[in-house]
Structures are given as C-alpha cells and as structure tokens.
C-alpha cells in the first residue's frame, strides 16, 4: 500500500547553523504516530517539515508518492490546504469569527466556497451544533479544542498533525481530545501524527507507533 507520508534521510539546518537529523519513517493510511520528546527536541520542526513549511537541508518528505520539495511554493500551499489537517498547541481560533466562521476558514484559505453540509455534519459530530454561532471567547476550553479539531478535519485531510494538543487541558479534557482525535482519524481513514511530551497522552497511546526524539 502506498505510504501516506514517508521521511527519507531528513536533515534540517537551523538559522544559527545547528543541524538536526531525523529517523526515516513510513506511515500507512490510518496509522498513528506519536512523536515524543522534551521541549527543543525537534518535534515542532519535524511537524513543520511534514507540513512542507520548512525545507530540509537533506532528504525528502514524500506524500503519497510526491516529494514535497519538488513542488513549487504555490503547489505546496495547495497541497497543505487539500491534504493536511493541523491542530496547533495554541488553538489560534479567529476571535472575530463564530464557531461556524472558523470552520469555514480552510475553504476561504483555499479560495473555495464553504461546504455548509460538511460543517453542519462536523458540528453535530463534535457536539458543537448548539454553540455554532458563538464567538471563541464564549466557549469553554473543551469546546474551543473541539472547534480547532473540527477546523482541522473539515476538508477531510489524509494527514492529521497535532502539536501538543493537551498542553492547556485538564485530565478530563485531555482524555476527551485524544479520543476525538483517534475517532476522527479512524472515521476518515486519516494518518495521525501527534507530537507531545505530556505523560497523560503517552499513557493513553497504546495504538500509536512511538518515535522518541532525543
């Protein structure tokens, strides 16, 4: 089966000159990867390389047989919009937009008309239908986390990246978010890459392939 994402001989050189090498990886559709490591271990750099936001000094990131480095910046942007879902550590919900408006952002970013039916479906699925017209500051922490997840899923990505998704959550919300990520990835057949150093997440990630970054 064609790997959703494959990392081959990847090295990244920081602006200060330091260089970091990453192990080779090959993730099949539906597979889950847990990137574990302390702060500064390169988790975020690796996510940025996978998202095509950083250019490696050596090696390749191959997505469904296509090396990202061979795409021009415009094609990489389009690829990211179409195939990648991202849940950032800080949620970065737009304070000016309602929950529904935040769900429409991935479409606006790609210059597409929002799919109202898909948005409604996700709002229902993630228990957000009742707060669809609320602004982010009117949401609970758990609700806001689910909105960020819904935004990442709305365009049915093949690769779902989550950067420290439990950083500001209590135990109950951490468990809920992890369950939702796994459920969403399962239902969409998406490959999930989760970067964390949170022991609570690590304890609940039996289904993940583990990669420990030094």
């Amino acid at each position: 089966m064609l790997a959703v994402i494959e990392l081959r001989g990847l090295r990244y050189r920081y602006a200060q000159g330091a260089e970091m090498a990453f192990v080779d990886l090959k993730l099949a559709p539906g597979q889950h990867l847990l990137l574990r490591g302390a702060s500064g271990s390169g988790k975020s750099t690796l996510l940025a390389l996978m998202a095509g936001l950083l250019t490696p000094a050596e090696g390749q990131v191959v997505m469904s047989g296509q090396a990202l480095q061979e795409l021009n910046p415009r094609q990489r942007d389009a690829w990211r919009g179409e195939h990648l879902g991202f849940v950032p550590q800080r949620l970065h919900l737009s304070a000016a937009l309602t929950v529904r408006g935040n769900l429409a952002l991935p479409y606006v970013a790609a210059g597409l008309r929002p799919d109202g039916q898909r948005c409604d479906e996700l709002l229902e699925q993630l228990g957000l239908a009742a707060v669809a017209e609320r602004l982010p500051h009117q949401l609970s922490v758990g609700q806001a986390q689910r909105v960020a997840l819904a935004r990442a899923l709305v365009r049915r990505p093949r690769l779902l990246l989550a950067d420290e998704p439990s950083a500001s959550l209590d135990d109950a919300n951490t468990a809920q978010v992890l369950d939702l990520l796994l459920q969403a990835a399962y239902e969409q057949g998406a490959t999930l890459v989760l970067a964390t150093h949170d022991a609570r997440v690590i304890q609940r990630s039996a289904s993940f392939t583990l990669r420990v970054l030094p």
């Binding site: 750099t45 936001l53 950083l54 991202f86 950032p88 970065h92 952002l105 606006v108 970013a109």
Partner: protein, 394 residues
C-alpha cells in the same frame, strides 16, 4: 464565506477603530467633493450669467461692484447714469447692443428690473406662461420668483423701495403679472422684469421729471468685435461720471478670490485624508500584528501568501469603498444645504444634485489612499512566518 466577507468581519472586529477611520476618510472625501461641486457650479453659473455681456457701464465706483450688481444682481449699484448714455453707447461703431437696466425696488427681496426685451434675448429666455410686458406696470416674473412668492398671471403686487425688500411699499403703483419665465438656471430666474417706464412711473408718481433728466442704473454692452475690449473700457472711463466694468476680467478676479477659499477647504480635505490614510495604515499594521496567528493559520490552512496580503488590503478597500459612498453623499448633502442657504438669501443657485464630470476622481482618490495605506501591512502579512504557529507558547 468569501475573502471579502472575512475581511469585513476582521474590519468590524474592532468597531471603534474602524468607525473612526471611516469617519476621517469620509470627511476628507466629503470636503473635496463639496469644494468640487460648489466651485464648478459657481463657475458654470458665472459663465451662464455672463452670456454675451462684454461690458457693464455704471456710475463711477468699483468695477467689481458694478459687475456684481449688473450681471449677478448680488451687490448694490454704484449709482445711476443718464438715460442719454444709452444713445451715446449705441452710437459707438464697436457696440452691437446696449441693454439698459434700472434698479431701485424689489419684491420680497427679489429685484425689480426695468429693462427692454433685449435683456431676455441675452439669455435666450422667454415666458413659459403669459407674455412679455406691453405697457407700464406690467411685470414678468422669473421662475424662482413665481415659485417662491406664489404669484400667478393676473395677480397684482406692489414693489418695496430699495433692493433688500424691507423698504416702504409703493402701494399706489401696483404691478400686474403678465408673464412667468421658463426656468433657465440664470440670474433671470431671480428677477422681476418690467419696462423702464414702469420704474420711472413708480418713482415719479409725486413729481414730474423731464425726459433729459431721466436715469438708468447701468447698461449691459455687447461688442461688435473683440477688438472693442481694448478701446471701449478706456473710452467709457474717460466719460464724466461713467465707469466700465469688464465682466470677464472682474469674474476672473472674483473666481480667484473664491478659488483661494476653495484651496483652503481643499487643503483641509487633503489634510483630513492624509490623517485618515495614516490612521488606516497604523490600524492595519496593528491589526496584522494582533492577528498574526490568524493570518499564519490561514497560511497553514493552504492560503498562498498573496491571498493573505489581499485579505489585509481588502480591509482598507472596504473602508475606502464605504468612505467613498459616505463622502460623496455627505459632499452632495452639504452642497444641497449651502444651496438652500443661498436660495434663502436669493443668491447664487447651487444644487446638491449637480454631478461633476470630475467626481470619478473621488473613488479613485479613496482607492489610491487605501492601497497606499495597505501596502506595507499587506506586505508584512505576505511575508508572515507561518512556522511560528508550530512553536511553544509565546
């Protein structure tokens, strides 16, 4: 949701800043629109009222005053001149026509002018209702006079002594309305016209005056040849008691004076616009910084850099578009208001409905200003480092 709608939401997420910028931009554009509309209408009105009048001859005094009193009926005349002056002027080979005007009375502030039908010919005016005067104490009303006074054909009225409408009424010498002129947008709209003998009759009711002692207020002269412009004013000024006023020169002087006022107002508008432009620039730059994560998220979600730059520019363009509509509306509104004030003073005709061929410059100005104000913030948005999204909390 489109990019435009997103820009709209972002813009109004800070309603106070957006409202203030909108107000500044609108006021600047309104000031410029107002100056444009008013100065154009004054110039057009002046051109209309000057129709074919090459020289105004009045009693010794200020040429500007003679021109304002004789052509635009805005100032008081400098005095009277002998009726015989008319014959003297017509005897000059370079004079094609000399139209006498005799002033002195008014009807509710509108001047009663004793003249000949030649005065109407100057403006190609004709009665829309009724006819011209045929005998003394028959009057033809300008369109505005008829509308404002409510007088109709056959009605009688008495003129008040003096030009301000507050003098004693000549009750024993009432005029009969025999005609109402079609509206022409000229000074005739604001006048009551009658023949010279009527004015004399009203003022000679109690004492007889010999023909050789009769006077007129001024004469409007049309030349046979443009060459007369060199010699005729000099010749008139050399005559005892006579003063020549060349309307072309005097109106040019007048418009320069009015122009100075316009320049001040235009400058004020430009300062307002500059302040608005700077304010929009600062607001957008601040907004790009405040919404750095929003914009970076858009990039993460697949928006190419140019789309993020366009989003920021759209905020400025929306402001400019709204300010343009408000500025034009306000500019026309202020012009209409000025028109009403001037109409109440029976002065120049200014309309808020006037459309200037140069008005397209207002949206263009707003567009240019918006693009200039948005250029740097849009560039900052274009160059945003999206990898910051992936970093630990700031």
């Amino acid at each position: 949701m489109s990019l435009l709608k997103l820009a709209w939401r972002y813009l109004w997420a800070q309603p106070l800043t957006a409202g203030l910028n909108l107000m500044l931009l609108s006021l600047g554009l309104a000031a410029i629109t107002f100056v444009l509309l008013v100065s154009e209408q004054i110039e057009a009105g002046v051109r209309r009222d000057l129709a074919g009048i090459d020289l105004v001859v009045g009693a010794k005094g200020s040429p500007m005053q003679i021109m304002l009193a004789g052509v635009f009926h805005l100032d008081v005349p400098t005095g009277n001149i002998p009726l015989a002056t008319l014959e003297t002027l017509l005897a000059q080979p370079l004079v094609a026509r000399a139209v006498p005007l005799s002033l002195g009375d008014s009807l509710r502030g509108y001047r009663i002018v004793g003249t000949t039908p030649d005065y109407l010919d100057l403006y190609r005016a004709r009665p829309g209702e009724g006819r011209l005067w045929q005998r003394p104490l028959e009057a033809v009303l300008g369109a505005e006079v008829a509308r404002k006074t409510g007088l109709k054909l056959g009605d009688r009225f008495a003129g008040s002594h003096g030009l301000g409408g507050r003098g004693d009424a000549h009750d024993e010498q009432a005029y009969t309305v025999v005609g109402i002129l079609e509206p022409g947008g000229t000074v005739l709209d604001r006048l009551v016209l009658t023949d010279l003998t009527s004015v004399w009759a009203v003022h000679e009711a109690h004492h007889e005056i010999h023909e050789e002692d009769r006077q007129i207020t001024m004469a409007l002269v049309s030349y046979r040849s443009p060459l007369a412009a060199i010699s005729m004013p000099r010749w008139v000024n050399a005559q005892e008691g006579l003063q020549a006023a060349a309307p072309a020169l005097e109106t040019a002087r007048l418009l320069r004076m009015v122009g100075a006022g316009s320049e001040v107002l235009r400058g004020f508008g430009a300062v307002l616009l500059l302040a608005a432009g700077l304010s929009v620039f600062v607001a957008l730059l601040h907004s790009v910084r405040a919404r750095q994560s929003d914009l970076a998220m858009l990039r993460m979600l697949g928006a190419p850099p140019w789309r993020v730059g366009v989003l920021v520019s759209l905020e400025a363009l929306i402001l400019a578009g709204l300010a343009c509509l408000l500025g034009l509306a306000l500019g026309h509104g202020l012009t209409a208001l000025l028109g009403q004030v001037l109409a109440a003073q029976q002065s120049l005709r200014i309309s808020g409905a006037w459309l200037s061929p140069w008005e397209w410059g207002v949206p263009l100005l707003a567009l240019g200003l918006a693009l200039a104000a948005a250029a740097w913030p849009a560039w900052a948005a274009f160059r945003l480092d999206v990898t910051e999204l992936l970093q630990a909390p700031r």
